[in-house]
């Protein structure tokens, strides 16, 4: 009985080391192949980015594959709903600015909130470094307009309320100009000189 156990044990031990050696050999080959393959990561990364029309300088983290279309879509997904809300608030204000102080001020307050929301979302947007100055200018223009509207919303009469109109027009123009510049920057591929 014990001889059988001993023989079986020796066979088992032999089988164990054979299995380990074979799997170890396979694993060693795979690990070495993996390490060799890993040395070419950088080159393949660049080639894959180029093949997928990705722009490294549009990818703030350096990891995501971001192309012009994706960046534009992300940007518009933020700006379009916000501008729609701002326009709705502005239309409400226009409808009330001559006869209902309360409603007009409420519309202005809502517009200020929408502007702040847009400003915050733009501040958090991962703009590529090359677009950051334009984005900052837009945020400042939006902030200035929101401050002006907040001041206008504190008016004590309809006359005082309407007296802000000219200043608001100028602020609107500033926002529109900056927005147009940023839209152009987002929708246009950077030139070779802008590459990091």
């Amino acid at each position: 009985m014990s001889e059988t156990y001993a023989r079986d044990g020796q066979l088992q031990a032999a089988a164990g080391i054979v299995i380990l050696m074979v799997t170890g050999l396979v694993a060693a080959v795979l690990v070495i192949a993996g390490l060799i393959y890993a040395t070419g990561i950088s080159g393949r990364h660049k080639a894959a980015l180029a093949a997928a029309a990705c722009e490294p300088n549009l990818s703030p983290s350096g990891l995501q594959c971001t192309d012009v279309g994706m960046l534009t879509a992300q940007y518009l997904a933020i700006v379009n709903p916000a501008m729609q809300q701002v326009n709705t608030d502005a239309a409400t204000y226009t409808a009330n600015e001559r006869h209902d102080l309360g409603a007009a001020e409420a519309a202005l307050t809502a517009e200020v909130a929408s502007e702040h929301g847009l400003g915050a979302r733009l501040a958090a947007f991962p703009f590529p470094p090359v677009m950051v100055p334009v984005a900052n200018s837009l945020e400042q223009a939006i902030q200035a307009r929101a401050t002006l509207l907040a001041e206008q919303a504190r008016s004590s009469s309809l006359t005082q309320l309407r007296s802000f109109s000219q200043r608001v027009k100028v602020a609107n123009l500033a926002v529109q100009t900056e927005m147009k510049l940023l839209r152009q920057a987002v929708g246009t591929r950077p030139t070779a000189s802008q590459e990091p």
């Binding site: 156990y5 001993a6 079986d8 044990g9 020796q10 088992q12 031990a13 089988a15 164990g16 080391i17 299995i19 380990l20 050696m21 799997t23 170890g24 050999l25 396979v26 694993a27 060693a28 795979l30 690990v31 993996g34 393959y37 890993a38 990561i41 080159g43 393949r44 990364h45 660049k46 080639a47 894959a48 980015l49 997928a52 990705c54 990818s59 990891l63 995501q64 594959c65």
Partner: protein
């Protein structure tokens, strides 16, 4: 043979219970007779690390074992996949749950499964048992991640066929659904009361884990295929340039080679015998390439989990 074996000299919830733990390294003594170098009393003593881990220390106003702290730290990692999904669940963001929830939770379940399956080989390799309770914890987290993954897919995916159609309407989903169906009973019986009630059948039922392991292979084969024809397997951005490392089936295979090899009775027997001879270095040298391959695979599984998880947490999901 059994008469010669001494019971473990220590108690506690993780004390050796041969009938309760599937795949325990000591099972081979019971089933197949002793090896030629059988020394029945080797289990009677704890390893030095086990003894060190059992020591209490003062923590705040109470005393706590070192291993408790270590277990909490190691176990906390398994909560990460669910933590990543928390914001999208709280805000009921169906877009995030639909687009990156399956990757975050699916990869999380895979990670926890491998960690769960890693416990037995590590007991075989080191002779330590202080981390054995992690097997149960990781197992519970596999079930939690897989069930949440299935629920997320059932409620938010865009496939046709209603809730059940989204759960099992495609073959790869059916494999995932079957895994969940097997995990639910395992989760239910993962408590001490069920262990006592089910006795030796508990251990047999726990072996369903291996069926889940195999179903995961089928799930990944159907999801990823054997090759790289999709060119962008894994972490979800085509510009990555590393399709091989991110191919989930390759990751699975590389990790499983180590876990499977160290479960084979002849291998376990050989390792235990070398350990008892005091030739641990030989064991480690022999398994080093397989272990390195396992670590290689786990690095990329964790990488996938982190990237997809952060996307989910920020609610900016990225599709593959």
């Amino acid at each position: 043979m059994d008469n010669n074996r001494q019971p473990a000299s220590y108690g506690g919830p993780d004390a050796y219970q041969p009938d309760l733990y599937p795949d325990d390294p000591l099972d081979i003594w019971e089933k197949e007779g002793p090896a030629d170098d059988h020394q029945p009393q080797w289990r009677a003593t704890k390893s030095r690390v086990d003894e060190w881990m059992d020591v209490d220390f003062q923590f705040g106003g109470s005393r706590i074992k070192r291993k408790t702290i270590a277990l909490i730290q190691l176990g906390a990692a398994a909560m990460v996949p669910l933590f990543f999904m928390l914001p999208s669940v709280v805000t009921l963001n169906s877009n995030t749950i639909s687009v990156s929830g399956d990757d975050t939770l699916g990869t999380g379940a895979e990670m926890c499964l491998f960690l769960c399956l890693l416990v037995t080989p590590m007991v075989t390799l080191t002779g330590m048992r202080w981390f054995v309770p992690l097997r149960k914890w990781y197992g519970i987290m596999v079930a939690a991640c897989a069930i949440c993954d299935a629920l997320g897919a059932g409620f938010t995916d865009t496939f046709a066929g209603g809730f059940l159609g989204r759960l099992a309407g495609h073959v790869f989903e059916l494999m995932g659904f079957m895994m969940v169906m097997l995990l639910i009973p395992l989760l239910i019986i993962s408590n001490t009361w069920a262990q006592r009630k089910l006795g030796r059948y508990w251990k047999r039922l726990q072996r369903l884990t291996y069926a889940i392991w195999a179903l995961l292979a089928l799930h990944l084969i159907l999801l990823e295929g054997f090759g790289l024809e999709r060119g962008a397997n894994g972490s979800g951005f085509a510009g990555d340039g590393d399709p091989i490392f991110h191919q989930r089936l390759y990751q699975y295979s590389a990790a499983s080679l180590f876990l499977l090899t160290l479960r084979l009775p002849p291998v376990r027997r050989w390792i235990v015998a070398r350990r008892r001879e005091g030739r641990n270095w030989l064991v480690w040298v022999t398994i080093a390439p397989t272990f390195a391959l396992f670590m290689f695979a786990m690095i990329f599984i964790v990488n996938e989990e982190i990237f997809k998880g952060i996307d989910s947490f920020r609610e900016t999901p990225s599709a593959e």
